[in-house]
Amino acid sequence: MVSSNPTLVAIVRLSLAVSLTASLIAAVVGMPLGALLALTRFPGRAMLVVLFNAMMGLPPVVVGLAVYLLLSRTGPLGTMGILFTPAAMIMAQTILIVPIIAALTRQTVEDLWFDYRDELNAMEVGPARRIATLLWDARYSLVTTLLAGFGRAIAEVGAVMIVGGNIDGFTRTMTTAIALETSKGDLPLAMGLGLVLVGIVLAINAMAWAARLWSERQAG
């Protein structure tokens, strides 16, 4: 059932493509943002930290709705014409997980900065280089952060359902397919999809774990 079904393969591939892309974009945006938040002191910083921490629990349907309004024909970004396309799904998931990645990165980098501060100051390391150094040296913890973001993206259904529309063969992901099959009463298919989803998440985490072990042995 799993390997022979071309529709299923397409669904899995789309889910992975959307969530991995969203995770990557969110990492590129969220990690420097988190590091910046860890290293700078400005009025309102504490509020921003709390806000990001709170946004880790943002309901996917709310993000979906916001992006839907943004992208709908009359919305501010309506002219882009990407509503009900994978691009919209990537956008929604990115917005969903940037706070997770930024908040977890901030904590990690802040702890490391406490450790490194004196040494980096004594070596006269400038602000941009500081951020790069801290992110690089925190890379093992940041892989876990990235996985947390990816896990949330691949598992959510509300946002992709709203902005993707669950169109067969175009924007149908594993989670939206599971929701649909369950509501149609095809429980075996829904179960099968669910198992595939869990298997993929497990496999990706196992790969990340192995990569971490290997590279940690190289660099300590």
């Binding site: 490194y116 004594a122 070596m123 280089r129 660099a219 300590g220």
Partner: protein, 240 residues
């Protein structure tokens, strides 16, 4: 020997350092001139670390002034410090030294040879690919010295560099320090090991409760302390 230093003498003029209500350094005036190592001696909590941070320029005095070679806001470029508990980056031994070289402006192509030379100088060449955070205490201290020397300093500040080392490791670290001193680097070092003072110090700065008690040649200090605090410290009494 190198050209006359731009960092020396280091002159502290009635320097105080306070946090809130507590005075950590108390109206301390002091001149550190080129020449043999200056060792800062004093009991725990007397302000040695704080004084070294001020000398590095990492913290500014809350009162009074400090100047390096006559300049008050000199860049740190020709100074280096080894902290009491050095922290290494989560990288290899060689990469830690390379990082310091890069920050000191050494071109990428010149770095590899330079790393090897510095590691050889502290006897760590064999450990170059090892993870820096897994070094033993003695190895870590020597790596910290290599990293500080990577800045090609004129003034090298050392905060109890042998505090937790065994006699053999202490000897190795002291050899590196004496070699650096011989090459013309001014060493300013905190210590409460009197044997070490005897082996290394040209002159001694004795601190108690953040105030300067004595600044004299090591021989004078060890044999004829003039203040009761220093005499008590040398006898092994508590200095309160």
């Amino acid at each position: 020997m190198r050209a006359p230093s731009s960092e020396l003498p280091v002159v502290l003029d009635r320097v105080s350092f306070k946090t809130g209500e507590t005075t950590i350094i108390d109206r301390l005036s002091l001149t550190m001139a080129p020449g043999a190592p200056t060792v800062i001696v004093g009991p725990n909590g007397s302000g040695k670390t704080t004084l070294l941070r001020i000398c590095m320029g990492l913290i500014a005095p809350t009162d009074g002034g400090i100047s390096w070679g006559g300049r008050q806001h000199a860049a740190m470029a020709h100074r280096a410090i080894v902290f009491q508990r050095p922290v290494m980056l989560r990288r290899s031994v060689a990469a830690n030294v390379a990082y310091a070289l890069a920050r000191a402006g050494v071109a990428r192509r010149a770095r590899v040879a330079h790393v090897d030379e510095l590691l050889a100088r502290v006897g760590l060449l064999d450990l170059a690919p090892r993870a820096a955070r897994r070094l033993s205490g003695g190895e870590l201290q020597r790596l910290a010295l290599a990293r500080a020397l990577a800045r090609d300093p004129e003034l090298l500040l050392l905060d109890e560099p042998t505090a937790s080392l065994d006699p053999a490791s202490t000897r190795r670290v002291e050899e590196i320090i004496l070699m650096a001193a011989k090459s013309g680097i001014k060493i300013v070092m905190a210590s409460h090991d009197l044997g070490q003072v005897r082996r290394i110090a040209g002159d001694v700065v004795f601190l108690a409760r953040g105030a300067l008690c004595e600044q004299r040649s090591a021989d004078d200090f060890l044999n004829h302390p003039t203040t009761s605090e220093a005499a008590a410290f040398l006898r092994g009494d508590l200095v309160i």
